[in-house]
Amino acid sequence: MYIDPHVHMVSRTTDDYARMAVAGCVAITEPAFWAGFDRGSPEGFHDYFRQLTESEPRRAAAYGIRHHAWICINPKESEDHAFAREVMGLIPQFLERPNVLGIGEIGLNRNSRTELAVFEEHLELAARFDTLVLVHTPHLEDKRKGTRLILDAIRNQGRLRPDRVLIDHVEEHTVRPVLDAGFWAGMTLYPDTKCTAARAVDIIEMHGTERLWINSAGDWGHSDPLAVPKAAAVMRARGHAVDAVRRITLENPRTFLGQSPRFSDAPLRPTAPDLGR
């Protein structure tokens, strides 16, 4: 059994749901993100948020997978501040939906002033509605600086408890400041960027299993929705006990996500007719 706490199933096929179910996935969480092109209107986001809260839970349930969502306007589409504010105006109504855990994945992409301002406004929303927060840290050369700006912004805001915030996509140069500040840290398993499974296991060996999880962040790009069970196999090959693997892939996500009463990984009977194919 495992939880993939960050995967973009709107970009994946139904076959991926079937493969994940067979691999032991019992629950997922899906943050709102950039779908590969810029949406031209707040109505486009409204439709996307409906997809995350109405359609995807049904698709997942057919394979016995509990689906949860995070709502936001992602940093890649927040450079137009007025537009971002219009979209943020839609968020409160979706925070009421039964599968929504909180605000995410907010954060920074190119570390711009507008991205930072929109990030801070999302933090205010999270504090006002007392939700969990899932934070995206930037890519490649922007990650270290962006992570610092993000940690400073959350500290300066001062109303969010670090243990209710997960800082995602950490790597060797950002994991320590995130954990030292009391936040949860996510490692994303990607073929070319972010972490490989071997490096994720290195980070676990160097920094322990406390407040750390792994995810596939499977999406429309080069990614693998089975990255979590594959990393679990690598962890076992590296000599780690079954209990340690279970902590990283199941118990840690359950502990963080379980701070929301809407999270569940209780068994769900699959109804998809093609599971035995």
Partner: protein, 102 residues
Amino acid sequence: MTHGQTPLDREQLIQLGFLEARSRTLDVAAFLDRVQRARPGPDGPADPLQDDRVQAILQALRVAIDGQPDRARRMLDLWSDASGEPAPHADGKAARGIPRQA
């Protein structure tokens, strides 16, 4: 398990990872060879090894062989934007892999 320690011993880890590391090291060498034998692009330097991305790889290789620990973290630090203030505007959506030279 104490932080920093590995369940497997050194020999076991080498046995497990050597062929993959050998293959990836060879890929880096082949990449440099490929770049060196290609004709220059219209805007790139005549000397292929002067491209800032290729230079970043060569600098990282020096980290790999310097005998000090934390190589992965130090490579990532080497390839990181060292500025502190937010950028005035987002410079496109995609990161490049290493900072642009001023």
